[in-house]
Each structure stands twice: as C-alpha cells, then as structure tokens.
C-alpha cells in the first residue's frame, strides 16, 4: 500500500489549498495511506464504533460549531478519544478558529492540525482529486500513447513493429504525443489515464535516426502530459491465417487495471500506411459515439436489398402460377 507523510502532502498542497500549520512542525511526520477524506461529525459526538480514522479528517463549520457548543470537560474527552485513534491529520476549512485546547492536544498526541482558507465543499473535492491521483492503481506497459482527434489511442505491439514510427507519422499529421515506449496507466474515476512512464521530456527513438525530441521538433502543442485512453490498437505482423476484422461488428476489449477498452488489431506490412488507419479508427469511434455505425448502416441497406429481391421473386412466382392456371 502506497503512503505519503503529512509533510509531503503539506509541502505539495500548501499553495493550492491555502494551507497553514497550526500545530508544531514535528506533528507532520504521520503517514497518510487512504485516498479518501472523512468528516468526523458523529465521531465528535462520541460515536466511534464506525469511524474511518485512517483518513484525513476535515472539520467544517458543523464540526467547529458543535465543538464550541460543548462544555470544556466534554470537549477534552471527545477530542482526546478521537485523537487517540491515530488519525493522520485534521484540516479545518474556511480558516475557522478551533478551541485552544485542540491545539494543545494535537501537539501533545502528535497530530497535525492544518487550516485551509477554502470552503469545506471545495476543500473536500480538491483533496479527493489530489488523493485519488496519489493513490491511483497503476502499471507501466510497453506502448505508445497518442491523442488522435481528441481520443487517447494506445498503440501496442511487439518491439520493432513500428509503434514509434506510426506515432511520429500521426504527430506529423497534427496529432499529439503523450508518451513513447513506456506508458504508465492509472485507474482514475473509473477511467484509464495514461502518462509517460518517465519524466525525461518528449523523446522518441526512431530506428535509423536515433533520438528525436518531439517538443523541439514539432512544438509544445503536439505534446500532452496525460490523456484518458479510449482505444487500444495492436499492431501485428501480417499473418495469412489471422482472423482480421472485416466488417466492424465484433467488439473486442482489452483489460487494464480492471477497465475494459475497445481493442482492434491492425496487420502491418511494409509500405502499409498504418497512421491513416489509426486516424480512421479514431474517427469511426467518434461516429459510433454520436450514433452512426457504418457496419450497421451497410448491413441494414444490404438486408433491405435482399428483402426487396425476395419479395420480387415471390410476386414473379405468383404471377407465373396464376398464368399457368389460366
């Protein structure tokens, strides 16, 4: 399980969340290992049987007003009970002021007390996004990731099949590169996000040329820091017996980190322009998304044609029959 210290979090988000530290600096050593945030509400009222202590605790106006309503000795008991449950840190929203006893207890029991100028709801959504990103499931694969007409296309296939060359051709045609060779896939918001596997910049290795820097060669507008993955395209050597899709009915999926994405297999042979096929696949996907499916449309027209012919035959037969009777 991944974890970060409260100090890491504080240093990273100090500016974005307008955070300030109320407790002593040594309280920042605790670890955060949950991607969720919690509002303690009932826990402050003494109900601690179900309490997500491992989460960052956000105190909004409700919590602060409730604490202020308590008598000094009750306040002391409740806070102490909660602080003993090993919570990572507390963030108070809107810069609300807490009873002084809390600051004392926080220092004593080594729990970081932070204050944010954000409103509770904004603080929680911002925090959730940050934590989800930090704790996202991820894996790194050998692939290229390009943005083609706004769709994230993951190019996979054996080494040397021409993934980078295909990506380069797409960039040359005005599309953008997310990463070459190593892509880190991350599970965020039920979607698959991809970003470069390493942070060296937008280098690509093109066989016969060596390294090229896409950002310098084509400009920063042809690069993307990350992209949701919409489709995987597997490039493979042409095989005579392979069952390539001919119509576009079959729905094949690849699964990464539990997310299913459509996959298509494209045979590659020398002189075949793969990037055009990738573009076409992306546009076809956009069309399907807005409700136009070329395969269905064609088949519908074909069915109509066949039906007409069958009807005509029936009519012809009937006329023939009645003529022969006469």
């Amino acid at each position: 399980m991944k974890e970060i210290t409260v100090r890491d979090f504080f240093d990273a988000k100090k500016k974005d969340l307008a955070l300030s530290l109320i407790s002593e600096p040594q309280t920042l050593a605790k670890k955060i290992n949950s991607p969720h945030v919690n509002r303690p509400g009932l826990a402050l009222a003494g109900f601690l049987e179900i309490f997500a202590a491992e989460r960052i605790q956000v105190f909004g106006e409700t919590e602060v007003r409730y604490l202020q309503s308590l008598k000094e000795e009750d306040l002391l008991i409740r806070i102490r009970e909660m602080f003993k449950l090993d919570i990572p840190c507390i963030i108070v929203s809107k810069g609300l002021s807490l009873p002084p006893i809390m600051e004392y207890l926080a220092n004593d029991l080594n729990i970081a007390l932070l204050s944010s100028r954000f409103a509770t709801i904004n603080l929680i959504s911002h925090l959730s996004r940050y934590l989800q990103d930090i704790f996202a499931l991820e894996k790194t694969i050998h692939a290229n990731l390009v943005d083609v007409f706004g769709r994230g296309i993951l190019l996979t296939g054996k080494s040397g099949i021409g993934k980078s060359e295909c990506a380069l051709d797409l960039i040359h045609r005005g599309h953008s590169l997310v990463g070459d060779d190593l892509i880190t896939l991350r599970y965020i918001d039920d979607q698959l996000m991809g970003r470069p596997g390493r942070d060296f910049g937008y280098f690509m290795e093109i066989r016969g040329v060596g390294f090229v820097n896409v950002e310098h060669m084509f400009g920063i507008e042809r690069t993307r820091t990350q992209k949701t993955i919409d489709m995987q395209i597997e490039l493979m050597p042409w095989q005579d017996n392979m069952d390539y899709e001919r119509i576009g009915f079959s729905d094949s999926y690849a699964e990464h980190l539990g997310v299913k994405i459509p996959i298509i297999y494209i045979p590659v042979s020398p002189g075949k322009n793969v990037s055009v096929i990738v573009e076409v696949a992306a546009i076809n996907m956009i069309l399907k998304g807005v409700g136009y499916d070329a395969a269905e449309d064609f088949n519908h027209k074909l069915h109509e044609e066949i039906r007409k012919k069958s009807m005509q035959k029936k009519i012809d037969n009937e006329t023939k029959n009645s003529e022969s009777k006469e």
Binding site: R246, I247, F249, L302, K309, S310
Partner: protein, 87 residues
Amino acid sequence: MKQKTVRVKNKLGLHARPSALVVKAATKYRSDFFIEKEGTRVNGKSILGVMMLAAECGSVLELIVDGVDEDYLLEEIEGILNQDFGE
C-alpha cells in the same frame, strides 16, 4: 478449376455476417475463388464484392475455385452456405 452450383439456404440471405464467414474462410486458401450470381461475378475473397451480390434465400450461386487447394476450399464454403445461422 472446379465449379459447383449451390443455393442460399438461410432465411435472410447473404447479409454481413454470413458473407464475412465466407470471405474469412476463403482467404485462408491459396486458390482463387469467385462467386457468380445472375451473370455477375465477384471475387469471393472480397467482403464488399460478396455482400454486393445481395443474394437472397433460395437464390442460385455458382462457386468457381481454381488452385492447389480448391477441393478443400469448395468443401468449406459449401459447409458454410448450408448453415441456417439460427435464422
């Protein structure tokens, strides 16, 4: 070279799915393969060609095969065209 006359058996005729089966089977073989219907001859390895025939149920097709593995090709295509595809 061999030639054989067959009838389309399935109710909905040679629509996209059966056509794809025919073409996919045919491309596995080295022999040339043509289908003729009412004087129109198409390449049996071309999906658009086969579908453009719009062969309805009961229509007569002439299968023409030519090459080293023509017997096997013909046998497999006949097998496919004899199915009813659950229609």
